[in-house]
């Protein structure tokens, strides 16, 4: 069977300037600098020439020039679907890109365990849940359950981490209560449903409740995750860290020790400016944001 050979790990060598030193990039269709993109959308207009013109105008407002309306299809009498191709003039300077760098070393489970043991002298307690009416547990389970994710074992596998997984549809008061009962060092919350910004509302409600329920120096570390979060939004949401699409348990474990356990090995000091900025725990128990 040929599929065995058609490997899924292509290795394209950039034809023109793929390796260019420049920080300024534009989309690449078939040649460096051509800026080509594909766009599709619906306009609430009946399909006619004017609608196609409106689609073109809209695409040109997005920076496509010339915007080629290559497909237009009526969807009933009031809507038209468009596919548009063309070059976009915007440039991106990769130095302007703000991301949450991994500002902690990735540690294997063994090291995580021994760090906790050596420094905390007790297991680190993690309470996890899907809050609100969200019942998507696969994501949080991927982080917490032994089975894990992407070949990495989940936090339950770590001998020095005690995991309390509350499951789905946990109300915020229940979560706060359970965190108190289990003396949680960290609370891990998952939010997958994002319609009408449900994930943002729920997260803010959750962080406010913890802030109210705990004195600043006793509040557990607040971590949220889910496929549609902006990892930069920690300050707005009042949490300590956000994890997005494709997070692995090892990353979370490594982050937790770096945040909760004084480091045994020196770690990078280029922490993102937002991380932990909302926390006011003593630096001994948690590494402060720089």
């Amino acid at each position: 069977m040929s599929a065995a050979r058609v490997t899924s790990t292509p290795a394209v060598t950039g034809p023109r300037g793929g390796k260019a030193a420049s920080h300024i990039v534009r989309p690449y269709g078939d040649a460096t600098g051509d800026g080509m993109v594909q766009l599709s959308f619906t306009l609430p207009l009946p399909h006619d020439k004017r609608a196609e013109g409106a689609a073109q105008l809209f695409a040109s407002k997005m920076g496509m020039d010339p915007a080629m309306v290559v497909h237009a299809k009526a969807m009933g009498p009031d809507f038209t679907f468009f596919v548009v191709y063309g070059p976009v003039h915007h440039l991106v300077d990769t130095r302007d890109v703000v991301i949450v760098e991994r500002d902690y070393p990735l540690l294997p489970p063994k090291e995580v365990n021994s760090l906790i043991k050596k420094t905390l002298h007790r297991p680190l307690v993690v309470v996890g849940a899907c809050i609100g009416t969200d019942a998507h547990t696969v994501g949080i389970d991927a982080i917490l359950n032994i089975k894990g994710f992407a070949g990495e074992k989940g936090l339950e596998y770590y001998t020095e981490i005690t995991v309390v997984n509350l499951g789905a549809q946990v109300s915020v008061p229940d979560l706060v209560e359970q965190a108190r009962v289990h003396r949680a060092d960290a609370v891990l919350v998952s939010q997958v449903v994002t319609q009408r910004d449900a994930h943002l509302h729920n997260t803010r409600e959750m962080s406010a409740a913890f802030r109210e329920a705990f004195p600043a120096d006793r509040r557990p570390l607040l971590v949220v995750g889910g496929p549609r979060f902006d990892e930069l939004a920690t300050a707005q949401l009042g949490v300590d860290r956000i994890f997005g699409r494709g997070t692995t348990p090892g990353e979370v474990a490594s982050y937790l020790v770096s945040a909760l356990v004084p480091p045994a090995t020196p770690t990078s000091t280029t922490r993102s400016s937002t991380a932990r900025s909302t926390s006011s725990r003593p630096a001994t128990s948690r590494k402060k944001a720089s």
């Binding site: 069977m1 050979r5 058609v6 034809p15 290559v70 497909h71």
Partner: protein, 524 residues
């Protein structure tokens, strides 16, 4: 998908198949004898190229063109270039390049030698052209060695196109495509090249929707892919186009530079480039003799008909053309494994049962040419700017390829109706191929059209229509059929089209050492 599984049966009548083949022979034979009676400027230039004449003058006109033009002026081409040119070389003691340069400068004139002079010139030309033929043989042996070393990829071979217009862009893109899974890389030619009556020289960087086919470009790309073949432990084939006014020369260069497959259809140039039919058939016969010798797989162009004619109505014209291409190919010495006969997934997708009809057509080709690799071409005509729909259609094209055991799969692009393929289009397209073959490639085992079902009936119907059409062609001649718009709805009379003035009737004293060597299978 493994070839060993039970082949789905169409249950075609063997007698009908035999009739179809013999009609194709009858239709083609007059064209072959017409081809044998003529030569063309490009055939003669190809002989000079095989004799080792490379390079161009300051204006970029290749020396082979300069030389043939002067010979034609001085002595006519009825006898071929070989006798006059080697006669001049023997007379002047100059080598081929010098004679060409002198000819261009007007400092040598040509004649048709006679008697002993003729014998000497013939001998000398044969010796020098034979060296070129031996270089082709060496290339072929080298390919065989590499394939023996790396092994043959399983069918279907994944065929991807690069078309940047710049050989130095093409090379890394081709290497990337190979790494992503391509078994065959085709470098599309610049739109205008087929109308040029000369082959450009040197590496080129400015093609239009494709890159010029030049000997230097062939060499560069072959080297790049050899490097990648080594890296991947898999022989990556290189393809170009033996078409247009320089078909014989391009074929010769392909043989010399170890290209592995060549687009080479008996009628494409006539229909889609308006090249004179006689010119085309003469050039084509010589090209195919070269391809046969070089172990090159040809790809024919039946897919093109379905872009201008309707894929259902004209299905039988594809079959007819495949049979003709087969006949012409065999006549020129090509073997079954070298016949990448073309067909395409071009039925209007809105027609009921369109997919099953595609299967019927594809299985018919498979059944008629069981030992040919067959080249399966993706949808183009009914692709639209709806790239989502296009991606789905390409998936079903891939599935049809898997279910019917095609040999060469030209990978379809979702942007077919929009742009020449983007980097991401190729990546997405290969992902599509991978999914289909990985998930459903073996479905062929479960695919058993009933002997009297829709698929078998449709295949029989198309075969029947093909036989009828061949019958009419035999009656009325192939050249008239072409003139009448039988193929792809394009009407091309035998006395019109480009390149007719480059056709020359052979005299009884015509000599072509290349043809002789090829037909004799000789090396000296």
């Amino acid at each position: 998908m493994s070839r060993s599984t039970t082949e789905p049966m169409l249950d075609l009548d063997p007698a009908t198949i035999r009739t179809a083949r013999s009609l194709a022979r009858k239709a083609g034979a007059p064209v072959v004898s017409m081809a044998k009676r003529h030569t063309t400027v490009s055939v003669e230039r190809a002989v000079l190229r095989l004799a080792g004449l490379e390079g161009a003058d300051v204006e970029g006109i290749p020396w082979v063109n300069r030389l043939v033009d002067v010979v034609r002026e001085d002595a006519g081409l009825e006898h071929g270039v070989s006798l006059p040119v080697w006669d001049a070389m023997l007379r002047t003691g100059d080598d081929l390049l010098t004679v060409a340069q002198k000819a261009a400068a007007g400092s040598v004139t040509f004649r048709v030698p006679e008697g002993k002079d003729a014998t000497k010139a013939a001998k000398a030309s044969r010796a020098q052209v034979a060296a070129g033929i031996r270089r082709i043989d060496t290339s072929r042996r080298q390919r065989d060695k590499l394939i023996a070393k790396y092994g043959q990829p399983p069918a279907p071979w994944i065929y991807l196109i690069v078309a940047t217009g710049d050989i130095y862009e093409d090379m890394p893109q081709a290497q990337a495509a190979a790494r992503e899974g391509a078994d065959v890389i085709a470098v599309i030619r610049s739109t205008g090249q087929s109308l040029l009556d000369y082959v450009p020289e040197g590496p080129t960087r400015e093609g239009y929707a494709g890159t010029y086919a030049t000997q230097a470009n062939f060499r560069l790309m072959r080297a790049a892919l050899d490097e990648t073949s080594k890296e991947l432990g898999r022989y990556v084939r290189l393809t170009n186009y033996a078409s247009g006014l320089c078909m014989p020369e391009i074929a010769s260069l392909a043989g010399l530079e170890r290209l592995d497959m060549m687009l080479n259809d008996s009628m494409y140039g006539i229909l889609f480039r308006d090249i004179n039919p006689v010119r085309t058939f003469v050039d084509q016969r010589f090209s195919r003799q070269i391809h046969a010798r070089a172990g090159i797989i040809i790809n024919t162009g039946e897919d093109n008909y379905l872009t201008t004619a309707d894929a259902v109505e004209a299905a039988h014209t594809v079959t007819v053309s495949q049979l003709l291409n087969e006949y012409f190919a065999k006549e020129a010495g090509l073997e079954n494994w070298q016949l990448g006969l073309g067909h395409a997934f071009e039925i209007n997708p809105d027609i009921p049962d369109s997919f099953r009809m595609e299967l019927a057509h594809a299985m018919l080709a498979r059944a008629l040419f069981p030992d040919a690799p067959l080249k399966w071409m993706p949808p183009t005509k009914h692709m639209t700017g709806d790239v989502f729909r296009g991606y789905l259609l390409d998936g079903f094209f891939n599935l049809a390829g898997a279910l019917t055991g095609q040999g060469i799969l030209l990978v379809g692009m979702m942007t077919e109706a929009v742009v020449t393929p983007w980097l991401s289009d190729r990546d997405l397209a290969l992902q599509n191929v991978r999914y289909v073959f990985n998930a459903a490639g073996n479905l062929r085992e479960d695919f058993r059209p009933a002997r009297d079902g829709y698929i078998a009936n449709r295949a029989r119907q198309v075969l029947g229509e093909a036989v009828d059409l061949l019958d009419r062609i035999v009656d009325d001649t192939l050249l008239n059929a072409i003139a009448d718009g039988t193929f792809g709805l394009m009407k091309r009379p035998a006395d019109a089209g480009r390149g007719l003035d480059g056709v020359v009737k052979k005299s009884s004293g015509y000599l072509n050492p290349a043809t002789d060597l090829l037909e004799e299978g000789a090396t000296r």
